[in-house]
Symmetry: C2
Subunit: 496 residues, 2 copies
């Protein structure tokens, strides 16, 4: 069999050594987690920055082909990160075959790396017993996120099929609102008691630490489970065995309540360089922990959302290639109606100034130039301020300094642009119209910067996501107001 089997192309052949993970359920998760703190057992060759074009195509076709043995050999030597990536890129109906070829514990590892929307679709194509197995062995927080993606009936069924302990862990999480710290956290948190010594603490970790989400960040609680301090595994390891934990720990500790928004949690962890953040309930009792990998994913998700809205669309919520044309269209059509409505306003403005336009038809030549440039100025302001709000550099209280900077910048840019445009327009048509164009650029760019910077702050003030003040929305508003300015200036300057 070996001699006849086709050889995998050289670049697809890689060494693979993975720990044996045959222990079922809880233990399996624990032993996988043992590897998680550092690096998944992987086979990825050192990154060297080689171009990505050819191998991707080959794997993509390979996985959709009939040669199950070749697929099996590729799977055996690829790392779980890669496998998850390639599965995400396959059409929905093609994922089941390669996935079912995976050994059970690798399958779970790959499964947990998939976006929840892809997880959901994959589950639909598997036999019940496999589905229940995967569901049982997932980390409670990943399971909670997957449940969010399922139809309620399926979710109830699967939750009912869990072992009591797993069901309890997940129900706790599902009891918290979506996108909250409570939903994001893992309830499997390793903690220490304030009265312990280092040696006791290490003992306790050896006994109970295998199933904890992390043991690098160790919250310390009193006998009522209230958070009183924290230390790192590093501190324990580097300390003398008889030192009291209370001496080593920090007593003033970052933490978050269960109902805190997940993005706030993630940004705090980014700013404060935290590996993990303890989560407490309303009585300051420790209930879970959020680890940095989940925080990074939240930030990436939030940023994808912001980028989508900046561009005037709703976020897809799933990997791009796993989204159908209809789903893509649906994420955009709502906003396009908004823009069409904004366009209708421009039609009305132009209709209102129809006589002016008829009197001087050359004015029409410069309409796209003027509103386009003003629109872009507004877009620059809007994206700058929206991002600054998102990363916490600008707060609501900063309205004044923002308006000063943006208004000043708009004025400055409008002056330069107007000055540059005057000459060519005067040559092309005549100085009067050139003056109208230049003056309009000056006024419209200043207005656009003010609108573009004030609206995201106004949105935040009213609790709307500032990114909703998207480039296209700001542009639409600026178009309409820019047109009005243009024709009013034209009337004034040209005496129309």
């Amino acid at each position: 069999m070996e001699r006849d089997a086709p050889r995998l192309p050289a670049r697809l052949r890689r060494e693979a050594v993975e720990p044996d993970r045959t222990a079922p359920g809880h233990e399996a998760r624990a032993s996988r987690r043992a590897a998680a703190g550092y690096a998944r057992p992987v086979t990825r060759p050192t990154l060297t920055g080689t171009p990505d074009a050819v191998p991707a195509l080959e794997i993509h076709d390979l996985l959709q082909g009939d040669d199950l043995e070749l697929i099996d050999r590729w799977l055996a030597q690829a790392d779980t990160v890669e496998i998850a990536e390639e599965l995400s890129r396959l059409p929905r109906e093609r994922r089941g075959v390669p996935f079912r070829l995976l050994a059970k514990d690798r399958a779970l590892d790959v499964f947990e790396r998939l976006d929840p929307s892809v997880q959901q679709e994959l589950l639909e194509g598997l036999r019940d017993i496999n589905v229940r197995q995967i569901f049982e062995e997932m980390d409670p927080d990943d399971r909670a996120r997957l449940t969010e993606e399922m139809p309620a009936k399926v979710a109830r069924q699967l939750l009912a099929g869990l072992s009591p302990n797993e069901r309890r862990l997940t129900s706790t999480l599902l009891g918290y609102p979506e996108d909250s710290a409570g939903r994001l956290m893992s309830p499997e948190v390793a903690s220490l008691r304030a009265g312990m010594r280092v040696a006791d603490a290490l003992d306790r970790l050896r006994r109970t630490g295998r199933s904890a989400e992390t043991i690098y960040a160790l919250p310390v609680t009193d006998d009522r489970r209230r958070l009183v301090g924290a230390l790192g595994l590093r501190d324990l390891v580097l300390a003398a065995p008889d030192q009291p934990v209370e001496e080593l720990m920090d007593t003033a500790v970052f933490s978050a309540r269960v109902d805190t928004d997940q993005e706030e949690v993630a940004r705090l962890m980014l700013e404060a360089d935290l590996l993990a953040l303890p989560i407490v309930d309303h009585e300051d009792r420790l209930v879970g922990i959020v680890t940095v990998d989940d925080a990074m994913e939240v930030l990436e998700e939030e940023e994808t959302e912001d980028v989508a809205r900046t561009g005037g669309a709703e976020p897809l919520g799933r990997p791009y290639l796993a989204t159908s044309i209809l789903q893509v269209a649906r994420s955009r059509v709502i906003w396009l109606f908004v823009f069409l409505a904004a366009g209708a306003i421009t039609v009305n403005v132009l209709a209102a100034f129809e006589t002016t336009l008829a009197a001087e038809v050359t004015l029409a030549l410069f309409v796209p130039l003027v509103i386009g440039t003003a629109g872009n100025t507004g877009a620059q302001s809007a994206t700058t301020i929206t991002r600054a709000i998102a990363v916490g550099e600008v707060r609501l209280a900063d309205l004044a300094p923002v308006v000063v900077r943006e208004g000043g910048t708009g004025l400055f840019l409008g002056l330069i642009l107007g000055a540059i445009a005057f000459g060519p327009v005067a040559l092309l048509v005549e100085p009067g119209i050139a003056a109208v164009v230049a003056l309009t650029l000056l006024i419209a760019c200043t207005m656009a910067s003010l609108i573009g910077s004030a609206l995201p702050l106004a949105a935040k003030r009213t609790g709307i996501d500032p990114a909703v003040m998207s480039v296209p929305l700001i542009t639409a508003l600026v178009d309409a107001s820019g047109l009005i300015v243009y024709f009013l200036v034209a009337r004034a300057v040209l005496g129309l």
Copy 2:
């Protein structure tokens, strides 16, 4: 004194306990690092999601005021993350006073949290001896990043003033290109030898681990310092003392070469849930390690860059409120010239079709509507694809599926929009023009989606940052082509 001293407002009063950090230089850094793995000694109250308006204003004014004692008291009870945030929001010339009030070791902590551009400005206002002290005690990788921000002469001076060991560490990093793994990494990496047992390993860590960037992720090397495996501190702590390290470690390990781009490194760490990534030279010898906190900062920086370019501006490279009007304007003016040039093209297109426009002036009414809507459709495609490329969901090889999705979406949306627009336009003007508008929307939206999705991929193909295919740039291209379509359709349908 206490009785007369003004009481800090209740919400500014918080308990603060911090470890004593009086040891100089290297040891100071080591002891600070001991706390870093988990949480900085902080006093931030638990996040509860309270609105941010009032306290920010008070602190902002407080720090710029004359009441040094009040400032001192606020500083004593604020955490270093907060202090760094508030300092970043102050005008440049106001930062020195509060900063100089900080105790030496806290000052260093706060300093390291500042954006390098702010660090640079702060240094300019300090006395030489303080500057040299801070520079000496910084982590080598932070020092390297700060050096990038300095004028070359100042950098040389400061580097010359370092102790030999620190100079060596930093020179190593500066030997690598900006934005590479080599520049991002810390050379102070705790590693183990393949032949060790768990007990030896823990011993070694106790002796040498204090100055390492992290001891949670432990690369394992052979006697030629080549990377042969890795394990986590967790594995060591949970294992039996006589177990060989070789048994515990993963032999197939993620790593990156020193010249790998920092964003690639950061994204790999995000995808593979890595706490740290070992960095190797061209002979696979371990030279440093990148930790997850630095990876998160790289991702945030890269995303701020992408967002800025999407909006048609250059990234500011510093906190928004720390940027002057002139600096903001400078980040935008280049792009505005590009857009002005694009606007000039629209003028030429309109001039070319001047006779058509003159023959049917009502066509002018719908110009902003048509090109605005098409422009927004293009913007949606561009932002979606640019983001998908950035997070690795779409690769160069995916041109075909992308074009199919985007072209299909554009066609679908164009159909809907054209159908919706027809009626109102027909009522407002006449069916002939309505047909022109509807048909143009259909064609232009399809074209816009294709342009908007293909250009980011084309940019990536030629090595340009796809985000440069910004919303305003795509919009400008779509405007010009949309106008051409509009008038050609008008001529065809209306027989002009």
